[in-house]
Amino acid sequence: MSKEQILSSDGIPLEQSLKKAERKNKLKAVLLVAPLFLFILIIYVFPIGDMLFRSVDDRMITKMLPKTFNAMEKWDGNDLPDEPVYKGLYEDLTYLKQNKTYGKIIARLNYEKSGFSSLIKKTVRKINKFEEGNYKEQFIKVHKRWGQPEYLVALKNAAPEWSYAKYLKGVDMTFDQDRNIVSVEEDRRIYKILWMRTLNVAFWVTIFCFILAYPISHLLATLPMKYSNLLMICVLLPFWTSLLVRTSSWMVLLQQQGPINDLIVWIGLAADDNRPELMYNVIGTFVAMTQILLPFMVLPLYSVMKTISPSLMRAGKSLGGTPLVSFVKIYFPLTIPGIGAGCLLVFILAIGYYITPALVGGASGSLISNTIAYHMKSSLDWAFASALGTMLLVGVLAIYWIYNKLVGIDNIKLG
C-alpha cells in the first residue's frame, strides 16, 4: 500500500518543497543577524577574551629566563639546586644585561618575594667579572641570598607560563613560600573591603530605587492619561539627560555651600561652621546613583502594573478585604515580575558603576570599577586590572543569566 504524495505545482513533493522554503527562510534570518554578530564578535567578544587571557598570562618572565627555568625543572625545590641552574641563570642574566631589559624581571620577582630587587641589581652589576665554571659558588659570593633556598624557590615559582596569582590578589590572598594559598596581612586587605562596599552600595541602591519607584510606577499606571503622560516625561527626562550632567547637578546640590547643606543649617540640624560632608564619600555615591538608576526601576514596574486590571482590587474590596489586605494579597504578588526585572537591572548596572563614584565618591565611596580604572591608567598593572575586570564580569554575567531566565532579554523596556 503506497501513500500518494501531495505534489506542489512544479511536481516536487510538497513536504520537500516546504522544507526547502523553511531552510531558505532560516538562512535569510541568519544572514540578516550575521553582520552585527560578526562585528560584535570581533570588536567586543574577542577583546574580552583577550582581557581574560591577559589576567592569567605570566609568560614575560618565562621568556626572559628560559635557560634558568629549563634547568630548574630537574630540581625538586628542596635544599639548593645544582650547578646547571646557576649556569642557566648566568647565561640568562648576561643576555638580559646586554639588552638592558633586566628591569622588567626585577618588578616581577620582587612581587614574588621582596629582596629580589637588590639581589638582581647587585648580581647584574658584577656579572661581567664571573669566570667560567663553578657558577654556584660565584653567585653565592656575590650575594648570600643566592645561597638561601627560599629565594630560589621563589624564582622557581615564577616559572609557570600561566598564573592565577592576580585573582588571588583580587580577594586579598597570596601564595606563601610553599605555594600554599594564604590571606595577606590584616592591614593590607583592601580588595575584600572594596568588593563588599560595591555589593553593599549596589544592594542598597537597588532597595531604595525600589522603595522610591514603586509608588511612582503605581501612580503612572493608575492616573488618568493626561497626568500620567506628564509624570512619565518627568521620569524619562533624567533617563535621556547626560550622565555627567546629572552627576554634576548632584555635585552642585551636595557641595558644602550647596542648597541641601543650606537647608540643613536653616532647619538647625547642623551649625553653619560645621556643615556635614555630603559629597566625596559613600553618601554622595549612594544618593547620586539612586537618582540616576531610578528610571531603570520605574519602567519595568510600570509596564507590569499597567497590565493589572483595576477590577481585581475592586473585587478584593467587595469580598471584604481591607485596602491593605487587598494590596498584600492581590496587587503586590501581581507586580513581582516587574519587581524582579527592575531590581536585577538596577543591581547589574549599579555593580559596575564608574563615573558617578569617581566624581562624587571620593576615596571612601569608590567602587570596584574605580579600582580597575586606577590599575589601567595609573598603576599600569594591566594584568591585575584584567583579573578584577574578569571577576566583575563573571558576577555581572551570572545576574544577566538569571535575568534572562526570569524576565527574558526581549522584555527590557526603554521608555
Partner: protein, 214 residues
C-alpha cells in the same frame, strides 16, 4: 600641551563621532533586528543575549577590553576607533527598539507585496521600513545619546585630538565646578529635552500605526 579652544574642538568631535556611530548602529541594529524577529531564526534567545550584552556589561570592562584591541590594531587615539566602539555600545538600543516595533508587525503586508510581484529589497524599502520607522528612529536617538554621552571608553581611547564634550566635562569636574561646565550642562539639558520630546512623539505615532495594523 594646551588646546586653544578645547570646547569647540570637543563639540565638533562629539557631533562627528556621534553622527557616524549612530548611522553604524542604526543600520547594523535594524538589519539584525529584522533577522531576530523572524520566526525562522535559530537560537534566537542566545543571539539576542549576546547582541544586547554591551548594554549590560559594565562600561569599565568594555572600555578595558576595547582599549586592548584598538591598541593592538593601531586604532587607539583615532576617531575610527572611537566610532567603532560606540557602534558596539549603541546597537543594543537599536536592536531592542526595532524588535519591539516588529513584535506588533503584521507580516501579511509583506507577503501581500511579494504576491504582487515586489522583490524583497523593494518590499523592505516601501512597506516594512516606513512601518517600523518610529522604532528605528527612536533606536537611532538612543544610539546618538549613548555616543554623545559616553565617557569611559573615550577616556581609554582618546588622545588630545579626540577630546569630546563629556571628556571636557569630566576633566573639568575633577578640578572644580566652574561656570563653564554649568553652562555646558544647561545646553545639554535643553538638548536632551528636545530629544525626549521627539522620542515620545515617535513612540505614540508608532503605537497609533501599529494599532491600525491590528
Amino acid at each position: 600641551m594646551e588646546l586653544k579652544n578645547p570646547w569647540g574642538l570637543a563639540t565638533k568631535n562629539s557631533l562627528f563621532i556621534a553622527f557616524f556611530a549612530t548611522i553604524g548602529s542604526t543600520i547594523l541594529g535594524t538589519v539584525a533586528a529584522l533577522g531576530l524577529s523572524s520566526r525562522h531564526m535559530p537560537y534566537k534567545a542566545a543571539f539576542m543575549a549576546l547582541l544586547i550584552s554591551p548594554m549590560i556589561v559594565p562600561l569599565i570592562i568594555s572600555g578595558t577590553a576595547i582599549f586592548f584591541f584598538m591598541a593592538k590594531v593601531g586604532l587607539a587615539a583615532t576617531h575610527t576607533g572611537i566610532i567603532l566602539s560606540h557602534i558596539i555600545l549603541g546597537t543594543p538600543f537599536v536592536v531592542i527598539t526595532v524588535t519591539a516595533t516588529l513584535s506588533g508587525f503584521d507580516h501579511s503586508v509583506t507577503r501581500a507585496a511579494a504576491s504582487l510581484g515586489s522583490n524583497p529589497v523593494n518590499t523592505f524599502m516601501k512597506i516594512t521600513l516606513p512601518l517600523i520607522m518610529p522604532g528605528v528612529i527612536s533606536g537611532a536617538l538612543f544610539a546618538f545619546v549613548t555616543s554623545f554621552d559616553e565617557v569611559v571608553v573615550v577616556l581609554f581611547l582618546a588622545g588630545l585630538e579626540n577630546t569630546t564634550i563629556p571628556i571636557q566635562m569630566w576633566v573639568g569636574l575633577r578640578e572644580q565646578l566652574s561656570p563653564t561646565i554649568m553652562a555646558v550642562a544647561t545646553c545639554l539639558i535643553v538638548m536632551s529635552t528636545l530629544i525626549l520630546v521627539t522620542a515620545e512623539l515617535l513612540r505614540r505615532r508608532s503605537e497609533r500605526l501599529r494599532g491600525i495594523n491590528r
